[in-house]
């Protein structure tokens, strides 16, 4: 659905052609808003840590060939 939003759609259409990274990009504003509005707590800490961990682990897994990077 986001693909149809002007500018956002163009942006998601660009990039590394990867659904996980696209999802992280789309979730970014929500995560940052949660950190700013909800403050420091277990949930927000887990959210931020999860965001960083998913990015790092997925990038490494993709780099060593554990996942297929092509968008289906």
């Amino acid at each position: 659905m986001l693909d149809r939003v002007p500018i956002v759609g163009d942006l998601l259409d660009a990039g590394a052609d990867d659904r996980v990274f696209d999802a992280l990009l789309a979730a970014g504003p929500v995560v940052v808003a949660a950190l700013a509005l909800l403050g420091r707590g277990i949930v927000t800490t887990a959210l931020a840590a999860g965001y960083v961990a998913v990015f790092a682990l997925y990038a490494v897994a993709k780099g060593v060939g554990l996942v297929d990077y092509r968008r289906q």
Partner: protein, 510 residues
């Protein structure tokens, strides 16, 4: 109107149209923080460049697409114009608070807050701050950044974030049509490598990467202990290798090793070229060591850190290796990545330590990244080219030789062209550093040493932002003008500015 003027005017107009959205969008930040008095100033700051841009585009609608000369002129004048209009939020908000129109409810600031904001009633200070922001320099005219209204903290951050990727990259991403001379403009903004065959796709991918890394950096800094607002601002300025802060004493304010080490990956991400980020995100992690520049980014950061830490320990600046690594490592990465975050009083360090940082600031990081400086690839071209020339003396004249650089095999003619380009930029860089240092020596108080002056001008021209304390609102107008010029030429790697000034002064091309 000549064709050249029309082409330059039309594309400057397009740039200003896109630029007009930035202060307008920033009004949301003013609303979120309850700084309603700043909203009219921001809307006006967006409307003025938009209307000027619209007028230029209409007047020059039929102009031909830009060539190489136009591209350089558009880049040079475009960056100056954007800095000029970027001054408006500083100027208008400072005057709004000073004049305090009753219906806007402007705050009654006292003490340092009043003097910090009051400095921006002087347009030269506003222009300095704006140029420093958009060029990603990070030197400031503020006394106390934490005393600024949140919306101006944001505007400083936003200017560095946009400037880190490039004003033309922004305009191209939003407005350009394929085949409309975008490549010429893209290359004029100190960029050469493309990610995709199409420039428009390339700049959109650059924004995709930049946004993703921004969210990632915010999370990293927040997890390290920064408050959310600080994390947002420092992530944006750190990734853009800009270095503006929302605190009075930059990163030293936090006195936190965790935050300093958390900023390392943010600054390093900003130091690596976007095409390499793209390849790594596509799964090709070999580029960390296979790409010449990326390998040297890590290598030179490591070598510089080791050298600086050794100096700090030997001079007794810090008691142990751990403290020297914490401050020395952070400051070297901050200097060579051209970020300019400060965690230690570098002006008090030994002359050798300051000159080591100056060396890092002059070289800078990878071409095609957000970092400033001469760029590693040029240094490597000069080093390898010099060795190639010297070795050539030992070969017979008929020998067929190939110059290898970054996996490419170049003919003699191609090698000469690369070598010449790198030598010209390096020469001009040194020349303008020397000229800037000469002017600065004549106007700064005598308490500042030669190494202080060299450090400050290297920081300015490399778009770094580390300071020995020379830069401030009380600096002479001559020094401010010198810094403005050095920031401008540094961001565009000098040549486009010289071409534009020549065209302007000789009227030959206009």
């Amino acid at each position: 109107m000549s064709e050249t003027r029309a082409t330059v005017g039309r594309d400057l107009g397009r740039m200003l149209e896109a630029f007009g959205a930035l202060p307008t969008v920033s009004a949301v930040v003013a609303l979120a923080w309850g700084e309603f008095y700043a909203v009219p100033a921001l809307l006006l700051s967006g409307a003025i460049p938009y209307l000027v841009g619209r007028g230029l585009v209409r007047r020059c609608a039929d102009a031909p697409d830009p060539g190489k000369l136009h591209g350089m002129m558009i880049a040079a004048f475009g960056w100056f114009t954007v800095a000029l209009f970027g001054m408006l939020p500083f100027l208008l908000i400072a005057w709004t608070v000073h004049l305090d129109p009753g219906f806007l409810g402007a705050p009654d600031l006292q003490g340092r807050a009043a003097s910090t904001l009051g400095a921006f009633r002087n347009p030269l200070n506003g222009l300095f701050e704006s140029m420093s922001g958009f060029t990603g320099t990070g030197l400031t005219m503020t006394d106390d950044e934490s005393a600024l209204p949140h919306v101006l903290q944001w505007w400083r951050t936003f200017s560095e974030w946009i400037g880190g990727v490039g004003v033309i990259v922004l305009t191209t991403a939003v407005l350009a049509r394929p085949g409309s001379g975008s490549l010429t403009l893209y290359e004029s903004e100190a960029r050469s490598e493309r990610i995709h065959p199409s420039v428009v796709s390339t700049v959109r991918t650059i924004w995709w990467i930049f946004l993703l890394f921004t969210f990632l950096s915010i999370c990293i800094l927040w997890l390290a202990g920064m408050p959310a607002w600080d994390a947002i601002n420092h992530a944006m300025t750190g990734l853009a290798t800009g270095g503006f802060s929302v605190t009075d004493n930059s990163i030293a304010t936090y006195d936190s090793a965790a935050i300093e080490y958390a900023l390392w990956p943010v600054m390093i991400l900003g130091s690596i070229a976007f095409p390499i980020h793209y390849l790594m995100l596509r799964g090709d992690l070999r580029n960390v060591y296979a790409d010449l520049q990326t390998r040297w980014v890590f290598g030179s950061f490591a070598l510089g850190t080791v050298a600086l830490v050794a100096m700090l320990v030997a001079n007794g600046t810090y008691d142990g290796v751990a403290a020297a690594l914490r401050y020395g490592g952070f400051q070297f990465v901050s200097a060579m990545s051209c970020t300019g975050f400060q965690s230690a009083p570098v002006g008090d360090w030994s002359a050798m330590a300051q000159l080591t940082l100056s060396g890092g600031m002059v070289v800078g990081a990878a071409a095609g990244s957000t970092a400033g400086g001469v760029k590693l690839i040029r240094l490597l071209t000069l080093l390898k080219g010099t060795a190639y020339r010297i070795r050539g003396v030992f070969y017979p004249a008929s020998a067929v030789r190939r110059f290898r650089l970054d996996g490419r095999v170049l003919t003699d003619a191609e090698a000469s062209q690369e070598f010449e380009e790198a030598a010209i930029v390096a020469f001009l860089w040194a020349l303008f550093l020397a000229l800037g240092a000469g002017v600065l020596l004549a106007v700064v108080p005598e308490s500042y040493t030669l190494e202080n002056v060299v450090f400050e001008i290297a920081s300015t021209q490399g778009n770094v932002g580390l300071s020995t304390g020379i830069t401030g609102p009380d600096m002479s107008p001559v020094a401010k003008a010198t810094f403005l010029f050095n920031m401008w030429i540094g961001r565009l790697e000098i040549i486009p500015v010289l071409v534009a000034l020549r065209a302007l002064l000789t009227r030959e091309a206009t």
